[in-house]
């Protein structure tokens, strides 16, 4: 059991990172919510990269024709991580732009305050 836990350390770390990011979403500060989402993204990347690794094999830089696939790690999760990073960057930029717009309108980054102000229909305390 303990040996299995030690072997699965990357996946377990990914799960804990995911939970940390999920908890960070609870904070009312919008920037911290964005940081939480980024931590969750990172945990997914760690998980995928760990899923693609095979013991004792090298990166998939194939140097000759007719290569033996049992010498290289799995290249498919690497491509998935690439896709994930691009989507993460795009969504983060979009969140930040929305946050800047909210800050300009309500002069606050606290989501609870913003919601209260928006309900009252007031801008700028």
């Amino acid at each position: 059991m303990l040996e299995h836990i030690i072997n699965m350390r990357f996946e377990i770390a990914a799960v804990f990172l995911f939970a940390i990011g999920f908890m960070t979403l609870l904070h009312p500060n919008l920037i911290k919510k964005i940081i939480g989402i980024n931590i969750m993204d990172t945990s997914i990347f760690l998980f995928l990269a760990a899923a693609g690794y095979v013991d004792g094999r090298t990166a998939p830089i194939v140097t000759g024709l007719g290569a033996d696939p049992s010498q290289y790690i799995n290249p498919v999760p690497s491509g998935l991580v690439l896709t994930g990073i691009v989507v993460s960057v795009s969504t983060t930029a979009f969140f930040l732009a929305l946050t800047i717009r909210l800050y300009r309108k309500y002069n606050s980054l606290n989501l609870d305050k913003i919601l209260l102000l928006a309900r009252k229909g007031k801008e700028k305390v």
Partner: protein, 297 residues
């Protein structure tokens, strides 16, 4: 069969609004003033207390669900195949084929580059379009700014006299650009490629903009121009891949020269596609920087 006449099918046909009732409830609670003012005060206090109780309930529920999620994920992880297991179901014949035949079929030494820019190039086109869509949305959101909030965000670095930063950037900037171009141009030969190299290039541009003020760079590369460059690169990407799909689907024997494996000018369309993706990523990242720091100095 009779015509379905439930609320949902009525809503599907566009006759009623399912959420009308809920919306009017919410509006009556805090938005629209009630009909008679004397009744207003006790009502509001009650809703305030209720809101507070719901707020604490929400926190407790959130933390509990997070712990439950953690336990669920941990128990799922313990059932996964062991880390580094060569017989894990994820390393199956698909990845074996990419590694074994990738060099012959795509001409790229880097199996990941061959995979994402040849076998699955349409997917990568979608990724670049996602980046472009994000850049356009940020442009739309941050274009019109009011002058009253010129100093809404504290400037990160606007120091024109920061000698250490400026000297360091002046020395390292050409090397960062060179390294970025190297990573882009060698994407089919070594680890790297359009996305990582473009990120390095964009980071170099951001560093330059942060050290020397954004005016100089934003005059040469305003958001409109970077968007135009991005669109042109996306169109070149689409044209190249359309050529491949068209000739491939019609069984036309137009072979794109693969070149000698290991040479810079090899592996067919992967090099131009990598350059396109690199330019798209660099322009988009720099665009984000310019738009988000707008009004700092």
């Amino acid at each position: 069969m009779t015509e379905p006449n439930g609320r949902f099918s009525q809503w599907l046909r566009g006759e009623t609004d399912l959420f009308d009732e809920a919306r009017s409830l919410i509006l009556n609670q805090d938005g629209v003033p009630p009909a008679d003012p004397p009744k207003k005060k006790p009502k509001r206090r009650k809703t305030g207390a209720m809101l507070h109780r719901r707020y604490t309930m929400f926190h407790i529920l959130f933390v509990t669900s997070c712990i439950l999620l953690l336990a669920l994920l941990l128990s799922a992880v313990m059932d996964l195949p062991t880390f580094g297991d060569p017989y894990a179901p994820s390393s199956n014949e698909v990845s074996d084929r990419y590694v074994a035949d990738g060099l012959e079929e795509t001409g790229a030494l880097n199996a990941v580059a061959g995979m994402i820019l040849d076998y699955r190039a349409f997917d990568t086109f979608g990724e670049s379009t996602v980046l472009f869509a994000a850049a356009i949305s940020v442009l739309f959101l941050l274009q019109h700014r009011t002058d009253s909030h010129r100093h809404a965000f504290a400037p990160v670095t606007t120091n024109e006299n920061d000698l250490i930063l400026q000297t360091a950037v002046r020395i390292s900037f050409p090397f960062i650009l060179m390294f970025g171009s190297y990573v882009v141009l060698n994407g089919h030969l070594s680890p790297g490629g359009g996305f990582s190299g473009g990120a390095v290039l964009g980071a170099g541009l951001i560093l330059y903009g942060a050290a020397f003020g954004r005016e100089g760079l934003s005059e040469k590369l305003p958001p409109e121009r970077t968007s135009r460059i991005t669109v042109i690169c996306l169109l070149i990407y689409a044209a190249l891949k359309c050529f491949s799909f068209f000739t491939g689907a019609n069984h036309m024997a137009i072979e794109i020269p693969k070149g000698i494996p290991g040479a810079i000018l090899s592996s067919g369309f992967i090099l131009p596609l990598n350059i396109c993706v690199g330019i798209i990523v660099a322009c988009t990242i720099f665009n984000f920087f310019l738009l988000i720091t707008e009004g700092d100095d």
